[in-house]
């Protein structure tokens, strides 16, 4: 197999995720798009891990960091959804359009 197969798959998923982050209005869907981005990064990490599996004695760093990213993503979803829930409770909507108090 070529490493580029995996890397390009990662790139495609990343860009789809970016599209989602930009185009979606619903906060839950934006969080899902972020998950897509994180997953694409994980695919890249593991592909590189495999690339270096043969030649270096250390190796395995990619897997380690993929695991850490999975854990961080879980934390991020937990906090993110809690925030979405709080916003929903206070405003009865989770449309990101309505959250523009930061307008300059």
């Amino acid at each position: 197999m070529l490493i580029n197969e995996f890397l390009l798959l990662g790139a495609v998923l990343f860009c789809i995720g970016v599209y989602g982050v930009i185009a979606r209005k619903n906060a839950v869907l934006v969080l899902m798009s972020i998950e897509l981005i994180l997953n694409s990064v994980n695919i890249n990490l593991l592909a590189f891990d495999r690339l270096h599996a043969v030649d270096t004695a250390g190796g395995n760093d990619g897997s380690v960091f993929a695991l850490y990213i999975i854990a961080v993503a879980a934390a991020e979803v937990g906090v993110g959804l809690a925030m979405v829930l709080l916003i929903f409770r206070n405003r009865k909507t989770i449309s990101l359009d309505d959250l523009s108090e930061m307008k300059g």
């Binding site: 970016v18 982050v21 930009i22 934006v30 990101l96 359009d97 930061m102 300059g104």
Partner: protein, 689 residues
């Protein structure tokens, strides 16, 4: 190696476990968990006493250099770096263990009465137990990581304890101030540890000290900066100038906390760190080499001695007087270390703990029993000596020790520091030392006069005129008596005047440097002579006399021309105001640092945002609109309607497309972020290909 030396790790572990028990089950216990705290501290005291005893036996049995007693277990590994946890017992550690366990036990006994009925009684004991555990962990740390662990536990607990009555805003602010000020210094500790690791490739304190003392390092400059960074941590923790401002505010906590904080734990940690890593500082800062008059540690210590003693004069709050006195005495310790008087400085930690703890507990006793929980000497105290004989006696003993009257403990430690400064050619610090002694006596005379003599005022008046009023109960007076007696006699462990040098013998292996001449050697402590002590003693007597006369004149009965002088005389009033405002240091930090640096940055950012970014957006938008307008005005007439409409839409579209840049919408910021990343990547690709 004896059992106690091997199992020294139990000393911090016991209160640590007690903390867990108190916080989990304390509320259901008959005495709210305080019995667990006291029992654990007693156990720690017994263990430390055993450790100290076995260490002394070890020193006495051996005729050569005594190695430290180490027991270590691997804690974790990062790559090749192994970090251990365990205990490193030598003279310094044994002294400190005994001291901390002893003072903590007495303070806990005292607290059982003092904070009785408090709404967070259990939490108070949990925090104070963990606090002692933190200090004990730090004291016997075999490596810098464990030291940092204990250091930070103490920082956290001091925050909890100072803010114990957080319902009052001033208290929680004092807690935050203490926490953040110490944190500023802690950055230095982290940086210093990292630099030590870079220089010596190890974090073991023993190994670092040996390598530094033997000159086994590549880069002298780096070692100097490591010493400076570590010393910044000590400045923060030990309340040295210019980070001393948190210490007096820390009086917001309950009195037992103040006494624990200011005698044997927390503030001593900084001095302890310098003593612990003495070779690093000694070599890094070139101490005691020929011709050196100043070094960083001595200068900071010396400044602290004088400015803190000056501030102690104008305080009306008895605890604040004691707080500034602590700062000043810590300055003595730092100065002692800076001028090469290691033994004297460590001995001063030892004696100071007893008398300062005693003074704080006396202040607490007065406030608790006599003056309705007020600490204001001018309003609520005075004339208490007859009604509170035990408290008064303990206070006088501790005051005598603090002032360094001959043949009580402060005399043997403080004058040793002053003597060493003279002996090691630090003339300036010799003068600072004796002037400091003068000021110490003067402000303590003032505090004593206001509290125990003269006419009873405010809360104290009720107490003095009450027939049934008695001194405080036994939980309070027993610690006072013990500490007061120790304040008198503890100095005899190291009394050069009688050629008694036990303390020196037991601890000298901890210096980590050979004694004698040369760059990598610490100087011998000087011989005792009345000649070099006499000026200091004369000034102490002068301080007592001058202050007593002034006090009688200003605060005594009858009228005097001196009364209210600070209000009438311009020069004195200015000086008084300067001192009352703490040399305007708080104002400096608040106004200059925060307003002067942080605010302009945020204002500049705001201005950029408002004027430049908005300007660009608006300009582009308006430019587009104006183009549209122009197009509409001039070209419209002759052109097809469709084209006109199209250009109008383009114009407002351009404005509309750029306006969302400041929209406050998450999606747009995401689009900008990723768009910028894409463009940036494209530019990089184009540049590189």
């Amino acid at each position: 190696m004896g059992w106690f030396l091997e199992h020294a790790w139990l000393i911090p572990a016991t209160p640590g476990a007690a903390f867990a028990v108190i916080i989990l089950f304390g509320k259901r216990m008959p005495r709210g968990g305080s019995e667990v705290g006291l029992a654990s501290m007693l156990a720690a005291l017994v263990l430390s006493a055993g450790t100290a005893y076995q260490w002394i036996a070890r020193v006495n049995d051996s005729h050569e250099e005594v190695p430290a007693a180490l027991s270590r277990w691997e804690w974790f590994r990062i790559g090749d770096l192994k970090v251990s946890i365990g205990s490193h017992i030598d003279g310094l550690a044994a002294v400190m263990l005994l001291l901390v366990a002893f003072i903590s036990t007495l303070v806990q006994l005292y607290s059982m009465e003092y904070v009785r009925g408090d709404r967070r009684y259990t939490h108070f004991f949990a925090a104070i137990t963990l606090f002692s555990a933190g200090m004990l962990t730090m004291v016997l740390a075999p490596n810098m990581v464990q030291l940092l662990l204990g250091w930070e536990i103490m920082g956290l607990c001091s925050f909890l304890l100072i803010g114990h009555w957080w319902e009052e805003r001033a208290n929680s602010e004092a807690a935050l101030k203490a926490f953040w000020t110490v944190r500023v210094g802690d950055m230095g500790l982290l940086v210093g540890i990292a630099m030590l690791l870079a220089i010596f490739h190890t974090l073991e304190i023993g190994a670092i000290n040996e390598a530094a003392a033997a000159g086994e390092f590549d880069n002298k400059n780096l070692l100097m900066w490591a010493a400076v960074a570590l010393f910044i941590a000590c400045i923060g923790k030990s309340g040295q100038f210019p980070l001393h401002t948190w210490l007096p505010d820390a009086m917001a906590g309950p009195t037992p906390v103040s006494s624990l904080l200011h005698s044997s734990t927390m503030v001593v940690a900084g001095v302890f760190l310098v003593a612990r890593l003495y070779p690093v500082f000694h070599v890094g800062l070139d101490m005691n080499i020929a011709g050196q008059r100043f070094n960083l540690i001595a200068v900071i210590g010396g400044i602290t001695v004088l400015i803190a003693a000056g501030l102690a004069f104008v305080q009306n709050d008895i605890k604040k007087v004691l707080a500034y006195s602590t700062v000043s005495q810590l300055g003595y310790m730092m100065m002692g270390l800076g001028v090469g008087a290691w033994t004297a400085a460590v001995f001063h930690i030892f004696t100071h703990a007893f008398f300062k703890c005693c003074l704080f507990l006396c202040a607490g006793s007065v406030s608790h029993t006599a003056s309705h929980h007020s600490f204001d000497m001018k309003k609520d105290m005075g004339g208490l000596r007859k009604k509170m004989p035990v408290t008064f006696a303990a206070w006088m003993a501790a005051t005598a020790a603090l002032c360094g009257l001959p043949f009580v403990s402060g005399f043997f430690s403080k004058d040793e520091i002053i003597d060493s400064a003279k002996n090691n050619d630090y003339k300036v610090f010799y003068i600072v030392g004796i002037v400091g002694a003068f000021m110490t006596t003067a402000y303590m005379t003032r505090a004593t006069y206001l509290t125990f003599f003269g006419k009873a005022r405010g809360g104290a008046a009720h107490f003095v005129h009450d027939e049934n009023a008695r001194d405080s109960s036994w939980q309070i007076t027993v610690p006072l008596v013990i500490l007061g007696s120790l304040a008198l006699v503890s100095g005899y462990l190291n009394a050069p005047i009688f050629k008694w040098h036990w303390f020196e013998t037991w601890t000298e292996s901890s210096i980590g440097l050979p004694l004698g001449e040369g760059i990598f050697a610490a100087p011998h402590p000087p011989e005792f002579s009345w000649v070099s002590t006499a000026p200091g003693l004369a000034l102490v007597a002068a301080g007592f006399g001058v202050s007593l006369l002034l006090c009688r004149a200003v605060f005594g009965e009858g009228t005097s021309g001196l009364r209210g002088l600070t209000e009438r005389n311009v020069v004195l009033r200015a000086g008084h105001k300067f001192l009352v405002n703490k040399y305007y240091l708080d104002a400096l930090y608040e106004r200059v640092v925060v307003r002067g640096i942080a605010h302009p940055i945020s204002r500049a950012a705001y201005w950029t945002n408002q004027n430049i970014l908005d300007g660009i957006v608006n300009a582009v938008g308006q430019g587009g609109r104006r183009t549209g307008d122009l197009v509409y005005k001039y070209i419209d007439q002759g052109l097809v309607d469709g084209a006109v409409n199209g250009s109008g839409t383009t114009a407002s579209g351009a404005g509309g497309a750029l306006q969302p840049v400041q929209s406050g919408k998450v999606n747009m910021y995401g689009a900008l972020l990723f768009g910028a990343a894409a463009v940036g990547g494209l530019v990089l690709v184009l540049v590189n290909s």
